[in-house]
């Protein structure tokens, strides 16, 4: 029994010690740093990619993906609260006594033990009232005491609210932490550990989520999200947690009638606003309200914030323009968050996002202003075996380097940057020119024709037919190679067939032939369209050759053209109930007042013992002995000496 109380005292001593508190502060700091360096609450796949399956498991166990809600982090906080509380309970009685009482029992000996004291010998009768008056003038509170021995003790003090400051500050810290804990997910954590509640990890409709993953209407504190498309309404929200979510039931229904983004003249967003209708059986009439960033709405203790926005299922009309000779173009209709299966091609289009505005920086350098390049669609194309590539396509041609391009990006994994296919617009601003050019390249008969023409033009008639034929053949072969695989096909063939010493020359000749032949091809094929060949077409052909070549790495047999859309937006709302907020604010107020009084009020105590023998002992003290204290001591003791002597 004895040893237990002894140990308890030891534990108490440890907890109350400042070194322990500082240790906790340091741990808190280190844990916080980890949380800022490792991005928190990301989807679990990201962590698996980052750390590998092996480490992922360990890191998950120690809660690295949500440090601030892990058990050990909460324990550190708890220890800090305990330590501070003990510290308050230990110090408060002395602080209060100091605040309320005048210490009037001191004798000469103890006064002389002060670091700042002074003994004076008075010559005439002491003018007590002048001393008191002086001290009052210096804002001291005073008390006189006549001792039995006939000595008089004057006790004076000022700035003693500083002592209350200590209590306010540290109580503030405790109240803030407790308020924070009230808003944390401690209750859920306990329920989860005891097996009452479970995180839902499947992507199923809210109504299908089972009772163990639902939080009741009366849940005291939560921070949940709700995404509402325009025209939709709901009475549940989702609490994201680890690799899944919980469903939070709400005591009312929220409907979104309209979501707006207002823009500055520069194109930057100026305001995100949602028009909401709140209906509740307790209400005789629905509440209509508009929320925006920095302007939330509170009803029944639950606050609704504008937090983000996304697509709400925009309808898309798309033309899939075939890039390969073997396939035909086709028109499809899609909707964001839905899929379209192309049975013939065994491909599935999954539409992920639509953006009406894209503010892009098209030119390098800060001087150039970003500009709006119009709508874009992000989508995935999944093949038969389940593999998918991600694409982004812009509706309109973008101005790049004084020319115009239809741009589409592709990437194989979300970690990569998009690689862009840039198809030049023709001189009428349309994609048709490129399609004409492409079909010319894919037309074998046409290639043969122009090969013959070129051979005829460049080689004299009277020369032998053999040479002409071989030239014609090589043009034909070169263009066919290009048509089948672009520049990389040609490079491969050069690598294989031509000795290193002649490579440079061969490349130049080949490129020249391709250029000339392409112009011929394009001109020939243009006859069947209404595009006219002009000066800009030369540049166009260069770009078209590059685009044609890149096409083979694009990863889709179709170029995606958005012909029309009907936008539907969705607003992202954050819905919170936070009973701790009041306590956190109250604690903060206490903290600020406390720190103010601790730092700006200077506690001073003065004793003046007037012995009946005529000797006077002055002692001066403070709980902060710094330069100001020395200054004050000099001033006050000097004045009093003057009065006395």
């Amino acid at each position: 029994m004895k040893s237990i109380t002894f140990n308890l005292r030891k534990v108490n001593q440890l907890l109350i010690s400042m070194s322990f508190a500082v240790c906790m502060l340091v741990f808190l700091g280190i844990a916080s740093i980890i949380g800022t360096i490792l991005k928190q609450n990301e989807p679990y796949e990201n962590y698996i990619i980052k750390f590998g399956q092996f480490w992922f498991g360990y890191f998950e166990k120690i809660g690295l993906y949500d440090v601030y809600h892990s058990v050990w982090f909460l324990i550190i906080l708890l220890f800090l609260v305990i330590s501070t509380t003990l510290c308050i309970t230990k110090n408060t009685p002395t602080m209060l006594k100091d605040f309320l009482l005048f210490k009037d029992t001191l004798e000469e000996k103890s006064l002389k033990a002060f670091t700042h004291h002074l003994t004076l010998q008075n010559k005439r009768k002491i003018n007590l009232s002048r001393i008191i008056q002086y001290l009052k003038h210096e804002k001291y509170k005073t008390k006189e005491k006549l001792k039995e021995s006939g000595d008089i003790l004057i006790v004076a003090k000022k700035g003693n609210y500083q002592r209350l400051g200590y209590i306010l500050t540290h109580l503030g810290v405790v109240v803030i932490c407790l308020g924070g804990l009230l808003d944390g997910n401690l209750v859920f954590k306990a329920q989860e550990m005891l097996g009452y509640k479970k995180i839902e990890t499947l992507d199923i409709p809210a109504s299908k989520v089972s009772e163990v993953s639902r939080l009741h209407i009366n849940n005291a504190s939560f921070r949940a999200n709700m995404t509402l498309a325009e025209g939709a309404s709901d009475n549940v929200a989702f609490v994201r947690m680890k690799d899944g979510y919980l469903v939070q039931e709400l005591p009312f229904k929220v409907a979104l009638t309209d979501f707006r983004i207002l823009h500055y003249s520069t194109g930057m967003p100026k305001s995100f606003e949602s028009d909401l209708v709140i209906s509740d059986t307790d209400l005789s009439q629905d509440i209509k309200t508009t929320i925006s960033v920095n302007h939330p709405f509170t009803y029944k203790g639950i606050t609704i914030y504008q937090s983000d926005f996304q697509d709400g299922g925009t309808k898309l009309n798309i033309e899939l323009i075939s890039l390969l000779a073997s396939k035909a173009s086709q028109k499809i209709e899609g909707k964001i968050f839905e899929k379209v299966k192309l049975d013939k091609d065994q491909l599935t289009y999954e539409f992920n996002d639509f953006r009406k505005f894209n503010i892009l920086h098209l030119k390098e350098g800060q001087k150039e202003k970003p500009r709006n390049v119009g709508p874009s669609v992000t989508y995935k194309i999944r093949n038969n075996s389940g593999q998918a590539r991600e694409f982004i396509s812009y509706q309109y041609a973008m101005p790049i380097d004084d020319r115009s391009f239809f741009v589409s990006g592709m990437r194989e994994t979300p970690q990569e940057e998009f690689r862009y296919l840039k198809i030049p617009a023709d001189n009428q601003g349309s994609i048709e020119g490129f399609m004409v050019f492409k079909s010319a390249l894919q037309n074998k008969a046409l290639i043969e024709t122009i090969s013959k023409d070129m051979a005829n033009q460049s080689i004299d008639h009277d020369q032998e037919g053999v040479m002409k034929e071989s030239f014609e053949n090589s043009i034909n072969k070169l263009m066919t190679l290009f048509a089948q695989g672009g520049f990389s096909n040609i490079a491969e063939s050069i690598d294989k067939n031509i000795p290193a010493s002649d490579k440079e020359k061969a490349i130049q000749t080949y490129l020249k032939i391709i250029d000339i032949a392409s112009v011929e091809l394009y001109k020939k094929q243009l006859k069947v369209s209404n595009i006219k060949f002009d000066q800009s077409s030369v540049m166009f052909i260069q770009d078209a050759l590059n685009a044609y070549s890149d096409m083979f790495f694009y990863g889709s047999p179709y170029f995606f053209e958005l012909t029309d859309y009907e936008q539907k937006e969705a607003s992202g709302l954050q819905i919170t109930k936070s009973p701790g907020q009041f306590w956190v604010y109250l604690g903060s107020l206490s903290l600020v007042l406390g720190i103010f009084s601790m730092i700006y009020l200077h506690e001073r105590k003065l004793w003046l013992l007037i012995k009946s023998s005529g000797r006077v002992i002055l002692a001066f003290s403070s709980n902060r002995k710094n330069l100001d204290f020395e200054r004050e001591y000099k001033k006050v003791s000097g004045e009093i000496s003057k009065i006395i002597q």
Binding site: M18, A21, V22, L25, V26, L28, G29, S32, I33, G35, T36, I37, K39, Q40, V67, Y68, G180, R223, Y264, S265, T266, M268, P269, K270, S271, F272, S292, V293, N294, H295, P296, T303, Y305, S307, Q366, K367, Q574, T576, S578, Q581, V584, Y585, S588, L591, V592, I595, F596, I599, R624, N626, L627, D628
Partner: protein, 377 residues
């Protein structure tokens, strides 16, 4: 009793004070009358509150009063020169070369650089005259900086009524604010402790900020006025940001005085610098003042976050680092007060504190991503 009160009021109402107060109140009332349709009640309270704060500062510190009066008069003059058209800053000589926002900021930079050089010359040659000139250059730089900010505030409204906002919303602007607040704090202590020898150290950190402003202006062209993103459109910004920068400024001041302390305690420049006890006292005072303002700023940030993001604390990297900075100085204060620690350890600690603070201020924007996105490097 009444006569005594009257006398004391009369005594403090010297002509200068009167000009000062009427200037502050006059401008505030004018702003209220002309612009109240654009303000909400909180902004009106903040406006009047700042009159109170500036009056209090000016009452207690004469030099500040002079600075503010000069700033007001010149800024008002600059606004007259603009006459409501922005392009005047290209055509009116005085605006173009002296008091348009960007020119004023450049002059601020120039005077800060000169002040640093002169402070060092003054320190090493023990020449008090040079110190005095350096000190007045610092004041001049502060005046130019404030003019730069005030005129920028006005210019932003000339760009577009919906674009105009108080110029403390991006890195370029807050760096100017940092220079101003740190210098003001220093100038205050310079007078209070009657020593001009520390300018050589404090001006180093200010000039580092000047370097950043120059780089940001010439290399990044980030000095243009940008409209506010929705999250920043709040009256909270007007008090949260200045409070934060009084904190940052004080911590920087403490760190620079600490470096002087460390040198002096190693017998370097000892005879040139103030006594160690004075330096120590200054470090403590500076950290104490910084701590209280930083506490207020963090709390205001939390209240703002509750309104903008839906939670008073989201463990966003900026918030978290503010907490780390705060914990660091709380520990510093405890070791000094409760354990009675003194000497070089505390000075080193204050110096390292500046590294932590700088990371919270800049590093977070550079290396970590989060909800605070007012300035990306």
């Amino acid at each position: 009793m009444l006569t005594k009160l009257f006398k004391s009021i009369k005594a403090s109402f010297q002509a200068f004070n009167f000009i000062y107060l009427s200037l502050l109140l006059g401008s505030a009332l004018y702003a209220l009358k002309t612009f109240h349709i654009y303000m909400d009640i909180y902004e009106e309270i903040i406006l009047l509150g700042s009159v109170g704060f500036f009056t209090w500062l000016g009452w207690n510190w004469n030099h500040f009063k002079k600075i503010i009066i000069t700033v007001f008069v010149i800024s008002f003059f600059a606004i007259q020169l603009y006459a409501g058209t922005l392009i005047n800053n290209e055509s009116v000589f005085l605006l173009k070369y002296l008091i348009s926002s960007q020119s004023a900021v450049m002059w601020m930079n120039v005077f800060f650089v000169l002040a640093l050089l002169l402070y060092w010359l003054g320190l090493l040659t023990r020449n008090n005259l040079l110190d005095d000139i350096a000190s007045s250059f610092t004041s001049t730089a502060v005046i130019f900086g404030f003019i730069g900010l005030l005129v920028r505030w006005y210019e932003s409204y000339l760009i577009g009524l919906d674009i105009g906002h108080i110029p403390i919303s991006n890195l370029y602007e807050v760096f100017i604010l940092f220079c101003l607040i740190t210098s003001l704090l220093y100038l205050f202590y310079e007078e209070r402790f009657s020593t001009k020898k520390l300018g050589a150290f404090v001006l180093i950190v200010i000039n580092a900020a000047v370097g950043f402003i120059l780089w940001y202006t010439f290399d990044r062209h980030a000095d243009a006025v940008q409209p506010l993103v929705p999250a920043l459109q709040s009256y909270w910004m007007k008090i949260h940001v200045p409070a934060n920068f009084i904190g940052y400024g004080s911590f920087s001041l403490a760190a620079m005085v600490s470096s002087a302390y460390l040198l002096s305690s190693k017998k370097i420049l000892t005879s040139y610098l103030p006594k160690l006890t004075i330096l120590e006292d200054l470090i403590y005072k500076s950290i104490a003042i910084g701590f209280i303002f930083f506490t207020i700023a963090t709390i205001l940030g939390a209240i703002w976050a509750a309104e903008a993001w839906g939670g008073y604390w989201s463990w966003d990297p900026k918030e978290t680092w503010a907490l780390i900075v705060w914990l660091n100085y709380a520990a510093w204060l405890h070791y000094r007060i409760v354990k009675g620690l003194r000497g070089p350890i505390l000075a080193w600690w204050a110096l390292i504190g500046l590294v932590v603070t700088t990371f919270a201020f800049l590093g977070v924007n550079m290396f970590l991503s989060g909800l605070h996105s007012y300035g990306q490097l």
